[in-house]
């Protein structure tokens, strides 16, 4: 008999499990519409591989895993993909997330499954891949990809494989009922898992409040190396870390993994999913869900397809919405409230709890903490919850971190025991999020700083290079002048000659710069004109030659073609240049230093803001409107001009959309102004 250890703390909330195990697992059937969130697990969301309107078979891949820590999504029934869009999902935020919506065709037609009955003949890596592509994620509630958990590094020897059948949360019986009804499949799954991680021992841990499950599993485990360990009921013995301590006496190091101490832990439901994926080749498309609480007439367990709406299952169980004030996914200790009954169940949905208002009353207002220490007594992580609470309340997040905030497993035992009804878990969740946010912000700002400094350095370097070139040029010119002067000394009137030379050079420079900066346009236009002339002469020659029937007609034709091609290129160059310099007519784009662009923007913004601050909102709005209107007229003028000039279509479209947007903004500004004036 295994030695059972105890863990610190724990509570004994009323179990309320008997209501939902009176009947066997019921098949919930196929609803008309299934909504499949792309992210039902911890890790990266899956990527859809089907399109809207595609016909799919039951078990077909709908969305593929993206990265190592990710799992794919499969079609729970046959039908048509009716949409890929954001839908409300079961999440405490009440936000929507990308989902694949599948309209059932009622046929429920399987695709061909590749079964691997003799898994021992298959390579471990291939089996892991099979589990991975079957979309198996932890069914206990957290939803960590199972294949990732099983991919233990070869240098780590696993002593104990634990199957978690504890189900310590009140109300939930999904694991209990599968252990009763599907014990042999669990044992089979356990053996597959054992083949994968090669442990010294295989243990299934169960609390002593499930005698039927214990008996069923013991019967199924006969003549197998699987051991059934029974221990006293106490919440949260089903927490992975707590269960490991109960069964092995060892603690998972903070920040480490169970594999670090030679343990791999899997939920019993995951074991069945792994078994089905290997032996039957079926992906994870359904699960057992407990629907319970006083607001349903017949609490029971359903075998439901992933993506089934909660309201569908609730109806089947006789939902009485008028009794129900909050709908909980999961148990009363760690579950979260969902915003609406019309959200789909996912791979981690073990329970839908619809309590009556009297059953789980709304929490009364919190009273002050009296440091009674009851929270510390029940904390399974041996934390000092009330200290963490004071730190979180005072926003001293660093101190909370020092007091091991991140070792909190959010089990809720402290809040349960607190005589002052303080929502402690909410404080810890918020504090954790705050700490993570601060870390990310610090990282991001550090990153921006580095990029800014790199840019600064680059600009300085460029400036320095330019300066060096300028200096070199100047020096060279001086040197030349000196040399010339020296040479000139020999000849007659050297000074006069040097001056002449310099003058000539200057003139040339002016002309050159004029051609360069002043009129790229002219140059291009000139080129067009010349080529056109050449084309005309060439064409004339060609015509003449053709008329004469000369033998070099072909050569001439080639020449004409070439010239016309050149003309086209030149015209295009001209065009492009005009397009790139839309303001060419009025002002030339100053080749000002890039630094000044930023600086000028800053100054402009500053001036505008300074003005803004001095004025009332109404004036601001007025001014804003005027500005927008002037911008609009400008843009419209530009558009007219472009149209008149018959510019390229692309430019006109761009300008048109600009005008359109400006018009919208003007309208919005007008509305705002009216608003301001009326109130």
């Amino acid at each position: 008999m295994r030695k059972i250890h105890d863990f610190h703390g724990g509570v004994h909330p009323p179990e309320n499990k008997h209501q939902s195990v009176r009947t066997a697992i019921a098949n919930a059937g196929v609803p008309e519409e299934l909504v499949l969130p792309l992210s039902q697990h911890i890790g990266a969301a899956a990527q859809p591989v089907v399109g809207v309107g595609d016909k799919v078979l039951k078990g077909q891949l709908l969305a593929a895993a993206t990265g190592f820590v990710s799992v794919p999504v499969h079609a729970p029934t046959s039908g048509t993909v009716s949409a890929i869009e954001d839908r409300l999902i079961a999440h405490p935020s009440g936000h929507s997330a990308p989902c694949i919506v599948l309209a059932s065709d009622g046929m429920d037609q399987w695709q061909d499954c590749v079964a691997t009955a003799d898994y021992r003949s298959v390579d471990r890596v291939a089996l892991l891949d099979q589990i991975r592509s079957a979309g198996v994620a932890g069914m206990g509630g957290a939803g960590f990809p199972t294949a990732v958990k099983l991919a233990v590094k070869p240098e780590k020897h696993i002593q104990t494989l634990i199957l978690n059948g504890t189900e310590c949360e009140p109300y939930i019986t999904a694991d209990d009922i599968i252990m009763r009804e599907r014990a042999s499949r669990i044992i089979e799954g356990a053996q597959i898992l054992a083949y994968l991680v090669e442990p010294d021992e295989i243990v299934i841990g169960i609390e002593d409040n499930k005698p039927e499950s214990i008996a069923a599993l013991q019967a199924a485990a006969q003549d197998t190396p699987v051991e059934i360990a029974v221990f006293p009921t106490k919440y949260p013995s089903g927490g992975e870390k707590q269960l490991i301590e109960i069964l092995t006496g060892k603690q998972v190091p903070s920040g480490g993994l169970p594999a670090d101490i030679g343990v791999v832990c899997q939920n019993v439901g995951s074991a069945i999913a792994v078994r089905d994926a290997i032996i039957e080749g079926k992906p994870l498309i359904s699960r057992v869900v407990t629907v319970t609480g006083d607001a349903v007439a017949e609490p029971q367990n359903f075998e439901a397809l992933i993506g089934t709406s909660m309201s569908y299952l609730l109806q089947k169980a006789g939902y009485q919405p008028e009794k129900n004030q909050r709908l909980i996914m999961g148990g009363p200790m760690m579950g979260f409230t969902v915003p609406d009954p019309n959200v789909p169940i996912v791979k981690t949905t073990n329970c839908i709890l619809a309590p009556a208002a009297t059953e789980l009353p709304a929490p009364p207002p919190a009273q002050p903490c009296i440091r009674c220490g009851m929270c510390a007594e029940v904390c399974p992580a041996s934390l000092l919850p009330q200290q963490l609470f004071w730190f979180a309340q005072g926003k001293e997040f660093e101190k909370a971190e020092q007091h091991n905030l991140f070792d909190c497993i959010e089990c809720g035992a402290c809040s349960y025991a607190c005589p002052s009804n303080i929502p402690l878990v909410q404080y810890y969740r918020a504090a954790k999020a705050e700490v993570i946010q601060m870390r990310e912000d610090a990282e991001k700002s550090e990153h921006s700083r580095l990029r800014f400094e790199a840019r600064q350095a680059r600009k300085e370097r460029e400036e320095a290079e330019k300066e060096a070139k300028r200096a070199a040029r100047k020096k060279a010119a001086q040197e030349k002048a000196r040399l010339a002067a020296e040479q000139g000394e020999a000849g007659e009137d050297p000074i006069q000659a040097a001056i002449e030379r310099a003058k000539a050079k200057k003139a040339a420079q002016v002309a050159g710069s004029g051609a360069e900066g002043g009129s790229e346009l002219e140059k291009l236009e000139k080129a067009v004109v010349t080529i056109r002339k050449r084309l005309e002469t060439a064409s004339a020659k060609f015509e003449a030659a053709k008329a004469e029937g000369a033998e070099h007609v072909d050569a001439l034709k080639l020449g004409v073609d070439k010239t016309s091609a050149k003309l086209a290129a030149a015209e295009k160059a001209l065009h492009d240049w005009q397009q790139a310099n839309p303001a060419a007519n009025s002002e030339l784009p100053s080749a000002a230093e890039p630094a000044d662009a930023a600086q000028a923007a800053i100054q402009k913004a500053m001036a505008a803001r300074a003005q803004d601050a001095a004025r009332s909102p109404q004036e601001k709005a007025q001014d804003n409107l005027q500005k927008l209107e002037s911008r609009l007229t400008k843009s419209e003028a530009r558009l007219q001009q472009s149209r008149a000039a018959n510019e390229e279509e692309k430019i006109i479209i761009a300008l048109e959309s600009t005008v359109e947007r400006l018009r919208e903004k003007v309208a919005a500004a007008k509305a705002e102004l009216q608003d301001k004036e009326t109130c």
Binding site: Q251, N324, Q325, I370, A376, Q387, G412, P419, N421
Partner: protein, 342 residues
């Protein structure tokens, strides 16, 4: 239908602050009855008058602080303070003495620091010490126990409280006083010469202590507090007394049994030391906290200027509680003893 969106857990255990406070009040009853039996109605009148004042001061403070009255009064914490101070004060104390004490306790020690949960010192003990320092005469005159003098009736008790000028108080030194003031006598002689000494401690005192012990054990059974602080305190007090007890010479501080059953030992151990707000929080912290209080009580009783010392010892250790907490944090799951995880 709009569904609630709140954080887990969605269920709550049976513990309530007000229930805890009511249990504490209930647990003082046996001690209160014994005190009334041996010293007359004085203590009862103290407690009742203190309770009236407590509610009044609490309401005043809450009004000034713009907090809802009903919500905060219903936690019964002010009543607990009143009962504890009422018991600690000498019977037949005048009304103004109790009023000054309650004002110090509720207004000064509690609400000035932010109300329930925020006070670094035990309010009842602050009230007691303020009185002890300000009015030493009134605070050290204790009524004679049943058998050593005539017990005043209820009317006289009320008269003593509300019309103190007209009440001719009969007082007698407490056993702890006698022990302190007489150094030239053997303990045995002292015992014989004074009728207020009883079988183990003092007449009345020993039974009152046993009654408070009973109330405390009941609270322990009800899991209102853990055993750590009171047991540690009683243990060190016993050890100290045993170490310094020489069998009864003139300088001896009294036997361990005498110390356990005399003065406010049990009352302190189960009703004052266990005050959660101002004590240390971790399990090891409470052990240290209680143990040091036990040592201090003995030291002040025997070597200090005051006859009893629970109030001073507790207040001194209140000061040290945050420091104790800092150094007695429990080892978090998955951490090694010397900090750090993996």
């Amino acid at each position: 239908m709009s569904l609630m969106r709140i954080t887990s857990p969605h269920t709550h255990g049976p513990a309530r602050t007000s229930k805890v406070m009511q249990q504490v009040l209930l647990a003082t009853l046996p001690g209160l009855l014994v005190l009334t039996h041996f010293f007359g109605f004085g203590t009862l009148v103290n407690v009742l008058w203190a309770a009236v004042l407590a509610i009044a001061f609490e309401a005043l403070a809450l009004t000034l602080r713009k907090r809802p009255l009903g919500f905060y009064l219903s936690d019964c914490s002010a009543l607990v303070t009143a009962v504890l101070l009422g018991i600690a004060l000498p019977p037949y104390s005048p009304w103004w003495l109790i009023a000054v004490g309650m004002a110090s306790a509720i207004l000064l020690a509690k609400h000035l620091y932010g109300g329930l949960g925020y006070n670094p010192f035990n309010p009842a003990m602050v009230g007691y010490v303020v009185l002890l320092i300000s009015f030493p005469v009134q605070m050290t005159s204790w009524a004679p126990p049943r058998g050593a003098g005539e017990l005043p009736g209820l009317l006289e008790a009320l008269q003593a409280c509300f019309v103190p000028a007209s009440y001719d108080a009969v007082t007698m030194a407490t056993p702890l006083d006698l022990l302190k003031q007489n150094n030239s006598l053997l303990v045995e002689d002292l015992w014989q010469a004074n009728p207020q000494f009883g079988r183990w401690g003092g007449v009345g005192w020993e039974w009152a202590n046993i009654a408070f012990l009973g109330g405390g054990l009941w609270l322990l059974y009800q899991r209102v507090f853990t055993w750590h602080a009171p047991v540690a305190m009683l243990a060190t007090l016993t050890v100290m007394a045993a170490l310094f007890y020489d069998g009864g010479s003139s300088a001896s501080g009294g036997s361990p049994l005498f110390h356990l059953l005399s003065g406010a030992t049990m009352f302190g151990a189960f009703f004052i030391v266990t005050d959660p707000v101002s004590s240390a929080v971790s399990v090891r912290g409470r052990l240290v906290y209680g143990a040091l209080i036990g040592v201090l009580i003995y030291l002040i009783r025997v070597f200090g200027n005051y006859p009893d010392a629970v109030a001073f010892a507790v207040l001194i250790m209140n000061l040290a509680a945050p420091f104790i907490d800092q150094y007695t944090q429990p080892r978090t799951y998955g951490h090694t003893r010397h900090g750090g995880g993996s």
